[in-house]
Structure formats: structure tokens, C-alpha cells
Symmetry: C2
Subunit: 194 residues, 2 copies
Amino acid sequence: MKELKSIAVLAGRFGMLPGVGRKTALRYAHAVIDMSEQDVDAFCAALREVKKSVKLCSVCGNFTDDDICDLCRTRQKKQICVVSYPKDVAAIEKTGAYDGAYHVLHGTLSPMNNRTPDDLNLKPLIDRLDGVDEVIIATNPDVEGEATAVYLARLIKPFGIKVTRIAQGISMGSELEYADAVTISQALGRRTVL
Amino acid sequence: MKELKSIAVLAGRFGMLPGVGRKTALRYAHAVIDMSEQDVDAFCAALREVKKSVKLCSVCGNFTDDDICDLCRTRQKKQICVVSYPKDVAAIEKTGAYDGAYHVLHGTLSPMNNRTPDDLNLKPLIDRLDGVDEVIIATNPDVEGEATAVYLARLIKPFGIKVTRIAQGISMGSELEYADAVTISQALGRRTVL
């Protein structure tokens, strides 16, 4: 049986969301049919409102509904933590372990995918290095994140600013048995004295 | 960090979809921010269109954009396969193993959740039993699906119509080791002679 065209179209839209395959997209589309008309209207309104009201902070690039985000307004500016995406800011904030400022690159360097430094939110970072003591690079510990970290370190060190990288090793609560070889060898190479 | 209000609202909407938790909903909401305005408009249009154009077939209760669905128009009516939801019709159609008609209940009986026969699409099924040889009950093999099957069998048999139930046992390609106890004992109890 062919799915009805309107269901297939909506499933196609859901399929544009991250990690949503064909089956899940269809499941979501079917769920929409079961929603009340008010709920569908509210869903649309929420989609449009997010697109309309969420902007990027002109200082750090994080999501904001103002010109400058709350974090940029309230945090100490001696430390800047550089991340790839706004969701990484949220992940770090949840820990409560950091009280400095952030900078969101909106991507990583990836020669394979033709993403060069020009595609990153870099210039505003350089413009705000005055008076900064430390830049903490918190891109993901994968190939692209590492490449981005190395590039940033080379770019920022000449300003006489300390550049650090978040620690890599075995995750808390995980088991050595299931860690991949690179993680284990990194954890060995970066072992600390007790 | 609090999420921006508009992001939280949209995440709440995504959270109404089946199987979407808080983290996934937020991930979807962030993805919408990265979409182009055209894509968001198209997403809204698709949501509204599905709600507007998809109706339930007045005969079988399956999704249709007409008064009567394609399957009801084209299939032999000697057999009616009764399923809980439209997605189950799609699953059976994909096999190509069935050429009869369907009937969609839009639910199962569930005393626990206060779902009684009145909540199911039952009357149209009784109204179309004339000339039917067999009703195949293809509700899920769980407690609610079984209860619904038993109820339907009692309801339909007095019309002198054969009522059958899809077979239960170990799934093709699965391993006995991982099958649950109920499935294994059902498979033993319903063993067939080779």
C-alpha cells in the first residue's frame, strides 16, 4: 500500500530531523493525524515562533531571544569555553562546574565536508580575546573536534592567552571492557599521578 | 541554563510524539532553529495538510483522502482482517501476503485504561459482515490485543462466520535464547506436526 501523499510529505519533513528514519517519521506523521486540530495549530505556532524569536547572540553565538544572551551578560569573562554547538553549552551548564563565558563555533573544521575556518563563528571570538586569561576548547573528542582544537590553539596562543583542552579518557561509570581502543590508549597516555 | 521559552515550548510539542523524550525533543527543536524559513513553512503546511486531508474510510476506518479508501474499493470482501491501527494495515500490506479487506478498530479493549467496546470502531464492522467468509483478527499478541480478539470472536461467531487469529510463536530469524517465557510456552503449546 502506498501511504497517502499528505502523510508521505509530512513524514518527509519529520525525516529532516536528526536521527529520524523512515519508519519513525511515518510513526510521527500518524501521531499527528490523531492530534486535535488545536494541537496541530499550536505545533505550527511553536515551529514558527522558534524560527522567529530565536537569534544568535552577537557576542558568543549562543541561542538568545535578545541581542546579547544571558550568559554573556552575567558571566566572568576571564575564561571563554569554546564549543561546537549551542546544545554543548546546555550540556556544560547542566553540570554547574563552570562559571565563565562561552563561544559557539556552529560547527567544526572538516576538510572532508569542505568546512573551512570561514564557515565557523570565529571572528567574533578573536574580537573578544582582550583581557581573557584562558580559552578552554570543548569541541568533541573526535577527528573533526580535535582538528578544530589544534587549529584554534595555533590561532589563539600568539595572543599570549593560555589555551586548554577538556580532558579525555575513560568516561565515569563506563567499563574498560567496552571502551574503544583509541579511548583506552588516550587514557593510558594521559594517565595522572595519584 | 534555562532553555529559551520558545525552544522549551516547541520541545514540549515534539514531546507529544510517540517515543520522544525530553532530550530528543530538545534536539529536534534545535534542529528546527537551523532550518531555513522555507523549510519551517513547508513543515507547518505539511502538518496542517495532513490534519485537513486525511480522513477515516467510512467503511473500514483506515486512513484515506477520499470517502472510501483504495483498499476497500479494490479488494475481495470474503475476508476481513481486523487490526488495531492504520499502521498495522501498512505492515501487513508490505508483506504482499494478503489480498482481502481490512477493518481498523482504532484501539484495543483495555479495562485498565477504561477503553470499552464503545471506544472501538466496531459498529461499521458488524454492518459489513454480510457475505463475509472469514474474519482474521490481527491485533497484537499482548494482553489487550488478546482480550480484544476474544471479545471479537464472541461477537462475530454467532453470525456463522469463521473467526481466525494470526499465529503466535517464535519470530522468524530470532533466537530461542532471547525469546521471553510466554512466547516460548505459546510456541510449544501450538507446535505443528512436520
